[in-house]
């Protein structure tokens, strides 16, 4: 029994560390944008963020132990069962569900909501404990891109697809699409606001473009005979390739301009203050000040293009070009 208890303790430590990665939300542009500017009107956005975070948090803690290690440990059957029964309680989501059930006892609406959440949690928990086939699924289907940076762009798109920011932006985009298909026309102001939200949801990633490359990837960059601006171009191309499809239901041209502004400002922290990121979590922005500048530049560019003229795309493109040239040089210096 002592073995199982020791394992549960180690598992608890590992899981606690994993949950600290959730603090990333505090440095996320999109979260800060909704908290400071939307406040109570941002409930819809909080719900989306909660939904996006829900699935990665509902995993089976036993998954943290490699299957081969589990098979090698001299655990008796009853110790294994103890682990199986006790490990779900390491996940704070389980305690949250219990608390919600206790609070909602007797309230029929809350019980219904609780049942829905519990069912989603159980589904995510069970799916996460299944030995899923190795294959990469949609990651493998990322298309090729023209030019010599093809594989780098594909890799970068896959990195973006492994952040929660992308799925948050995708839900917002699909919501607008559904509204435009099934309901009446979206007011112009709302369309612009949704464009800001979709680009804003991915803006923190633009501050940490190298955050998911890992040590191996960073050392490979230093070995490749390419210029710094080419590495940034591969990052930016992937960012735009992931974002542009999400902009189609909102305001694509204005959103594209906003994306260029976000990238132009995001190059500085990406190169100057690289910050490691965790997959399947929200991206943690590099600095609050930079995030604020990024959001203002993005909102101004989107609103100018949306409500005035397409010509406002030109300064955004110019700023992006200057930024990629300048921070490309900085990147070469940093890697030397």
């Amino acid at each position: 029994m002592a073995r199982a208890v020791a394992l549960l303790r180690a598992l608890g430590t590992a899981y606690r560390r994993d949950w600290t990665a959730l603090q990333s939300l505090a440095g996320n542009n999109f979260f800060l944008l909704t908290v400071f500017f939307l406040r109570q009107a941002g409930i819809f956005v909080y719900l989306i963020m909660g939904l996006v975070m829900f699935f990665p948090l509902s995993t089976d803690p036993l998954r943290k132990i490699p299957a081969s290690r589990m098979a090698l440990w001299p655990l008796a059957r009853r110790e294994w069962w103890l682990l199986r029964l006790a490990s779900p309680w390491i996940n704070p989501m389980t305690w949250g569900l219990v608390a919600l059930a206790a609070w909602g006892a007797g309230r029929s609406i809350t019980v219904g909501l609780w049942a829905l959440i519990a069912a989603l949690f159980a589904a995510a928990f069970l799916i996460s404990s299944l030995p899923l086939p190795r294959g990469g699924g949609m990651f493998r289907r990322v298309p090729s891109f023209p030019g010599s940076l093809d594989q780098l762009v594909r890799k970068n798109v896959r990195e973006i697809l492994s952040t929660l920011d992308f799925y948050c932006a995708a839900i917002l985009s699909v919501s607008v699409l559904a509204f435009r298909i099934f309901a009446r026309d979206l007011p112009q102001e709302a369309l612009m606001a949704m464009t800001v939200l979709v680009v804003g949801a991915l803006s923190s990633y633009a501050q940490c473009l190298f955050g998911l490359d890992g040590e191996g990837g960073l050392s490979r960059y230093r070995l490749l005979p390419v210029r710094g601006w080419q590495l940034l171009l591969a990052k930016d191309a992937a960012f735009l390739a992931a974002l542009i499809p999400l902009l189609i239901p909102v305001a694509p041209v204005a959103g594209f301009g906003g994306a260029l502004a976000v990238l132009a400002v995001g190059h500085a922290p990406s190169v100057g203050h690289p910050r490691e990121q965790t997959r399947w979590r929200f991206t943690t922005g590099a600095a609050l000040g930079n995030g604020l500048v990024q959001m203002i530049a993005m909102a101004m560019t989107i609103s100018s293009i949306f409500s005035s003229s397409l010509w406002f795309l030109a300064p955004a493109a110019g700023a992006w070009a200057v930024s990629i040239w300048w921070y490309g040089r900085e990147l070469e210096r940093a890697m030397a």
Binding site: G136, L149, D150, Q151, P225
Partner: protein, 247 residues
Amino acid sequence: MISCRNLTRRFGDFTAVNALNLEVAAGAICAFLGPNGAGKSTTVKMMTGLLAPTSGEVLVGGLNPAANPLELKRRIGVLPEDLGLFDDLTVEEHLLLTGDIYGVPRHETRARTAQLLHALSLEHGRRTFAAACSHGMRKKTAFAMALLPNPQVLFLDEPFEAIDPVTAKIMRELLQSVARHGVTVFLTSHILSMVERIATQIVMIRKGQMVWNSTVGELPQSLEDHYFDLVETPVVEELEWLGPSRS
């Protein structure tokens, strides 16, 4: 092809490499030997431009890595200590990336990729993401990336560790073949039996200082004995608690 003059690298008070003087001729296979922490990887990093020397100079193919980093990178192939792979690319995509970046025509890249995957027994795992590869597969992928652009100089940091014997033999023969065609190979390794078979030049380093530099033929005794004499003598301690009769 490789020339070091008083090459030195310090990290604070610690001197990782101390006044290294070394010449490696074109077409040589130079084995750079030493215990963990002796300064081997630091030397390779300085030669490949990944780390600036504190003092002294290194020239690779007549190029100073600090002054001509891009031109140097185009001419060398490197198997780095950490392998330098991207989790989000498959084995095959890593090779296609290398061909694209080094300006190898696409059809030639595909042909070389197919040959390398076959030679290194990587065909079955060509569509496996690097994050899901075994350490051996990852090492073979990084080795194939180093070879694909047909470099003038190959820097290989512990190429034979974690490699199965058949692939190790294939890698050895590939390296001997490229060396016969004038490619210079500079490798570090702890597998002395393999080094003895492949190397033409032996360099030993201990605590950052070169303690031996000769051709294989000039070794006064077997490589293993000479290494133990010059670099480190193994001390075997009895672990009293090991054994079925002990608790």
